[in-house]
Symmetry: C2
Subunit: 331 residues, 2 copies
DNA sequence: TATAGACGTGTAAACGCTTACATCTGGATC
DNA sequence: GATCCAGATGTAAGCGTTTACACGTCTATA
């Protein structure tokens, strides 16, 4: 372990007191010449202040905790990048922990993180419900919620505009001549809002809602839901509430002897990479993952300053692809 | 900010001195009854020791720094999970930073991380070369290198057995009757070793090496390399040194009016998720990402204990898929 | 019965910063 | 020329732990 250069050695070498060194380093009032000399000395000695000592003295750890549901989720990497970039600018870092979608583990992770001197906690995606959170909240640092339920938690929420995005997706299908549009839905708030957007688009165009099936946001669920819908028929396009479910739907369509695009148009949600490689490539709504992260980080920083930041709602971008074709009178 | 319960309050409440509380908490010698009373009191008051104070007093931060090349890379999430799981068991956490494949930024990130009291640094994937690292090493905590060059750096290295894996991949093609096998190669150590494995497999079966083209580990590079190979011809199968390049190769094959599998068998490397969704699904060698992470974490922990851990070499698993078919006399 | 450990506990000094307060200097003001 | 005040610097008290050392108290041994 490399030996630490302390502020005392810098003070000695520069011929001033430690207080002056500290002030020179942190922008306190110091005579310009003294400051220059101190900085030069610090540089020469390779001084870098001990974060631990600083935390102890100031009570500010300059660290934010982040909880994600799943370390391998493709969107979380982008969110973390957004968080990291934004925090770095303010001289903050973050600690990530993954709940692996296990409530017990999430509780553990929350406790763990708050025992580690983080100034705020960013909670991403689904996990413990608002009630469990509220119960723990006393022992936790301030929260920032990203795409997560928690209306009455008095915590800033960063979300995407699921309803508008879903409406846009559905409108995209309508613009391609489809009038009978089914929906494969997902659970929780995100699922409900996407369903609402689908419905709103149809109403706005005077169309009757097509059949709906629930897919639980999993590939297998999407497969089953699509099978159920195909068995009933009565639609030429389907808006699927997640790309992962759309994957299952592709399989069901193929197994039914039909072709995605030509026979059934499909639009997904999330904008995951694999959609590009499907045959045909999957039209979808891209989540602004990195921006979500940035917004969350900004909110977290505001919270540490004692502010009460606004909620943020970001919108998704439509990615048109060949899984949606002009309605040709099939089905 | 929640008020801290300090060790003094616990000591008072339990009627002992702070030294005893500390010992009771950390497994020093304390009378069993006293220990029980202290623990109960601590629990009741919701005491949790200040990490900063602890770090300051002990000089151990219980944190490891991790540098990855790219926050959104699909393998890194898995590695981080492995690292996190392993470290958590030892009561450690980690700080991640991404270099975004920019040398200047990587230097910055290294400095930043080492200024943050990490006890060791795990460097994942390509980045600063051994010489630049060696130059900085004086100012850095001990390193652990994962899939990265750095022979003479006196740091434990965690790698995969690229050569054996590449040999396995090539053998897989040979087992399917292919005798003229091309290679799309990548740069750096990983690229060289995979090339060597390909060559070794061919030699072992008395086959002449087919044509080789370089793809730079990018999709576009893979595309170009495949185009070049197809222009020359003379092979019925190709071992591509990364899935990402294989993606480009697929495109080139398709544009040449051929079919992957039927006309040209392809096997990739890495085991990325999207390979499943290609048409046909891409046979590949799966990297043991999570295990790499675990091994790296174990090595890092050993290093903090002053040990000098062994290098670790992990092997990849062949994932057979339909991009490789029995040689049928085509091409 | 004296005595050497062994064991349990307490006292106080670090660890490396920040910062309130005190001190000193040198004009500016009357 | 005395008085103030502002600006620069120093002194020292925390921040919340760990831990070396000192100090009893017992029990086992001679």
């Amino acid at each position: 372990m490399r030996k630490r250069v302390t502020i005392y050695e810098v003070a000695d070498a520069a011929g001033v007191s430690v207080a002056t060194v500290s002030r020179a380093l942190n922008g306190g009032r110091v005579a310009p010449l003294t400051r220059a000399r101190v900085l030069r000395t610090a540089e020469r000695l390779g001084f870098s202040p001990s974060p631990a000592a600083r935390v102890l003295a100031t009570g500010k750890s300059r660290a934010i905790g982040v909880v994600i549901p799943d370390a391998t989720g493709p969107l979380y990497g982008r969110m973390l990048r957004g968080i990291g970039l934004e925090l770095a600018q303010a001289g903050y870092t973050y600690l990530v922990e993954s709940s692996e979608r296990d409530p017990a583990r999430e509780r553990q992770v929350l406790r763990d993180l708050s025992a580690r001197d983080v100034e705020a906690l960013i909670l991403i995606g689904s996990g413990l419900g608002p009630r469990s959170l509220a119960a723990m909240q006393g022992g936790l640092p301030s929260l920032v919620l990203v795409e997560r339920e928690g209306a009455d938690l008095a915590a800033p929420m960063i979300t995407i505009d699921n309803e508008s995005a879903a409406e846009r997706a559905t409108r995209y299908l309508i613009e391609h001549g489809h009038t009978r549009i089914a929906h494969i839905a997902g659970p929780r708030r995100a699922g409900r809002e996407r369903l609402a957007g689908w419905r709103r688009a149809l109403e706005a165009h005077g169309l009757a809602p097509g059949p709906v099936a629930n897919g639980g946001f999993t590939e297998e669920g999407g497969y089953r839901a699509a099978q159920a819908l195909l068995a009933r028929g009565g639609f030429s396009a389907v808006f699927v509430a997640s790309d992962r479910m759309a994957l299952g739907a592709y399989r069901a369509v193929r197994e039914a002897g039909l072709r995605v695009g030509a026979d059934v148009s499909v639009v997904g949600f999330d904008g995951l990479e694999f959609g590009t490689y499907l045959d045909p490539p999957l039209a979808t709504l891209r989540q602004p993952a990195q921006q979500l992260g940035q917004a969350a980080a900004r909110a977290a920083l505001a919270v540490t300053r004692g502010e009460r930041p606004e909620n943020v709602v970001l919108s998704c971008e439509l990615v048109p692809r060949a899984s949606v074709l002009e309605y040709g009178g099939g089905l």
